[in-house]
Symmetry: C2
Subunit: 482 residues, 2 copies
């Protein structure tokens, strides 16, 4: 790998994000796979076929390979449980081709009795009790576009996919607890405190090839919050979601929920794997290219409280009669849940609480979807803002800058959209819209001028006769024109 | 004109501004001139030749025809008096070809003795005393890019050129007072209160062709603040700046300083000409396409206090030792002048006053240029903000939204630029920059990852041995791994 030349990563973070689908192709990753050759050479093509087969045709493909994609806004919260084919995907490498009957899970490291389990072993109800959990998985890059738009950053060597609000999804997973599997190996020994999870997907970092891996602390496993799952929304786990077995680390960022899991190793410290030690770090805003030592970043585990508006769309022209229909999601990591959702139509000055009956039901580890008719009298450009208070009363910073960081992770600030408000309850507005209709002239785009006048010269002159002139007159009795 | 089809205006205000020079061609205006034919057909080509001949090769051409252009940031405040070839141009039509010896100025309307003057008449020192004035002309579209970037608007039928901070310039003009010319015609009669100024340039509005015209109140003329000029910075007025005679309405927006002046008509009310009555109006932010009657906008005359940063550039990476060199301009309309300039390196929280010795000299009707080494300790993305207090203690709103309006005019909010600060006074920063140099690796672009590590694994492990682990340990004495 070191002998070969690969192109530098694209610098799209400083410019406009291309309006293409996929947004980026992933040329370097494809070249890396070809450079290694053998069965890896065809992985990019096979992965893309898998995307086309398993995912919804309307997915937004941020990166073709490794595949990164999210559903379009219209579909993100169309259902409270995300259909499998619409659930976002954040891959770091190719999608492995695993035969379930040849698959084994190796448990090793600081466990009393290292051993392997077949899929049948794990699915043996007599050995392991089953868990079915409604769980939200969120990528720490969700809403990264907002950080990119404010200031450029770099993050890690992996391209920072320009995620919008769809890098989050909720599904019902079925599987077993990793705790019980470890117990089945006699538990941890010595200083065993962390479990390293290995996925079968390829992972490239600084000219090295490895498998994807991260670790989770034993405390998390012990709480039965790390599952090994083979079912997603009542269906076998799709290939693109980690078939045959994926980890589900509930309440942590998606990066910990390793797909195509094939090995678990108990360690006395968190893994040195780059995803854990060098990426997904949350830096203070003063750290950048020259000073971002990995120890200066907080390893991202639980996501903070956040929320997003899925309707209306940013820059949409909304013609309404005094209230604007909004919908979206709210979520808090670490097992906390949204307790209140609030919306503002004035950029974050006045807040309306979404009535509880308009918010979907509570679960630990799951988002809540909501809808609300937001009162709005004013016309013109307004900013709709959403914020959430979770059950611990955590809430979100108001501005993107408050949460901006070099890795462009964890956009926890309030989601803001600009909409152009046209209030038909206003009489003059209603009249003018009728005039547009009568003339069969489009009101949209709002930036295209109209040829028909806003008023007659007679009315214009009449106004100025009744009104003080634009320039103040002198008050004395004498002629102003002497 | 009505029988012919012309393409709709381009909608660039909603998208990214193209990175071309010229930014826009002006297809519709070229077609209009061709449609009328005769000598007008060749005006677009002649105008462009004039631009190439008279203007600096580095001008940013916002619109090729009618020509709109401004100097690049580097040159805007390079000199306190703007060289003629760098002064911004905001034309509404073609550049007329006027022979000085055939030119006449017609004075008519509500004056006692309507008559015409040749150029020699006006330049006759026995008839008219001469004035030489240092005067800033500012387009009300200056810094429009900031309003466009925030929200789209439409303005008038004329394309809203995406002006940056260079649509302002300062020159020394020589000419005579319009007041004396009017007096020479016996003064105003009846209700004469406004003087309509006509330029020889073409002007198109809603399928009508006319000459450019506006009006100014007699009170302004009476104060000797409306000059008829033939000299700019000691040279004959360049053709593109209104040869042989232009009006100079001191302290008003550039739109009132009619170029290629050939007629002045005294009226009892402001002109109905579209530039005055339908364009250059300042609307409340709730007025847009459907409700912007001309009477709802304030006719823009005097520009409010404003300022801009010309150095450093937006998004620039600035490596410094604790202070950042900045320079720019400050201006206030209506004969007010900048009394204090203040800079902030923290987005508008703390303000430093620019020492008076770093600000160019005061004139009524003129900007002041300034420079300052702005203290800055922090690293990463910062926002430098400038604001001005004029001699009446007017100052600027902090945010673009405060001044946003449908016509995208008068961007009077504080100018903000983002820069990436790297402070070499910090020891670790200095070390790391040396490392970049030693490896002959570019520090820029900051978004491109580096291959060399920020620290060794030994240092990494050492840190975590001395430090509390990422995940909190249980406090009890028992084993955490039971």
């Amino acid at each position: 790998m070191i002998d070969q030349k690969f192109p530098p990563p694209p610098e799209f973070q400083l410019g406009a994000i291309p309006d293409t689908n996929p947004v980026l192709e992933g040329v370097r990753w494809k070249m890396w796979h070809k450079a290694i050759g053998g069965p890896l050479a065809s992985v990019p093509d096979e992965s893309w076929s898998c995307v086309l087969e398993e995912k919804h045709p309307e997915m937004l493909h941020l990166l073709q390979f490794p595949y990164n994609g999210e559903p379009p806004k219209r579909l993100v919260t169309a259902e409270t449980i995300t259909p499998n084919n619409l659930h976002f995907i954040r891959n770091h490498g190719g999608i492995p081709n695993i035969k379930a009957d040849k698959w084994e899970l190796k448990i090793g490291g600081l466990v009393r009795h290292p051993r392997s389990f077949t899929l049948s072993d794990l699915q043996n109800k007599d050995l392991f009790p089953r868990f079915t959990k409604t769980c939200t998985i969120q990528c720490s890059g969700t809403r990264r576009v907002e950080q990119i738009a404010l200031y450029a950053g770099e993050g890690d060597e992996m391209i920072n996919a320009p995620w919008a609000e769809g890098a989050i999804g909720t599904a019902v997973y079925t599987g077993i607890s990793l705790k019980h599997v470890i117990k089945h190996c006699g538990g941890l020994v010595d200083d065993g405190k962390h479990l390293e999870l290995f996925g079968a997907d390829t992972y490239f970092k600084q000219n090295e090839v490895m498998n994807y891996s991260v670790s989770v602390p034993w405390s998390k496993v012990k709480a039965n919050e790390v599952l090994l799952c083979w079912e997603m929304n009542g269906e076998p786990l799709p290939k693109i979601h980690g078939f045959p077995i994926r980890a589900l680390v509930m309440g942590y960022i998606g990066a910990r929920s390793v797909k195509w899991l094939y090995r678990v190793t108990a360690l006395d410290r968190p893994t040195h794997a780059p995803v854990q030690s060098k990426e997904y770090l949350y830096f203070n805003q003063q750290f950048g290219k020259h000073n971002q030592r990995p120890i200066d970043g907080i390893q991202i585990q639980e996501m903070p409280v956040s929320s997003a508006i899925m309707m209306p769309l940013n820059k949409q022209v909304v013609i309404h009669t005094g209230s604007i229909n909004c919908k979206g999601w709210a979520y808090s990591g670490g097992g906390r849940w949204p307790e209140r959702v609030e919306l503002s139509a004035d950029g974050g000055f006045s807040w309306y609480a979404v009535p509880v009956e308009n918010i979907s039901e509570k679960h630990r580890f799951s988002w809540r979807t909501w809808h609300f008719a937001l009162p709005c009298e004013v016309e013109g450009w307004i900013e709709i803002v959403v914020r959430c208070w979770d059950n611990s009363l955590n809430t979100q910073p108001l501005e993107v800058r408050s949460a901006w960081n070099w890795g462009l992770h964890v956009t926890s600030s309030c989601h803001r959209i600009k909409i152009y408000s046209v209030n038909k309850k206003r009489e003059l507005t209603q009249q003018r819209l009728s005039e547009f209709q009568r003339r069969k002239e489009g009101f949209i785009p709002i930036t295209r001028p109209t040829d028909f006048p806003q008023m007659t010269w007679e009315d214009y002159d009449e106004f100025w006769k009744k009104t003080q002139p634009r320039d103040v007159q002198s008050d004395n009795g004498g002629s102003d024109s002497e």
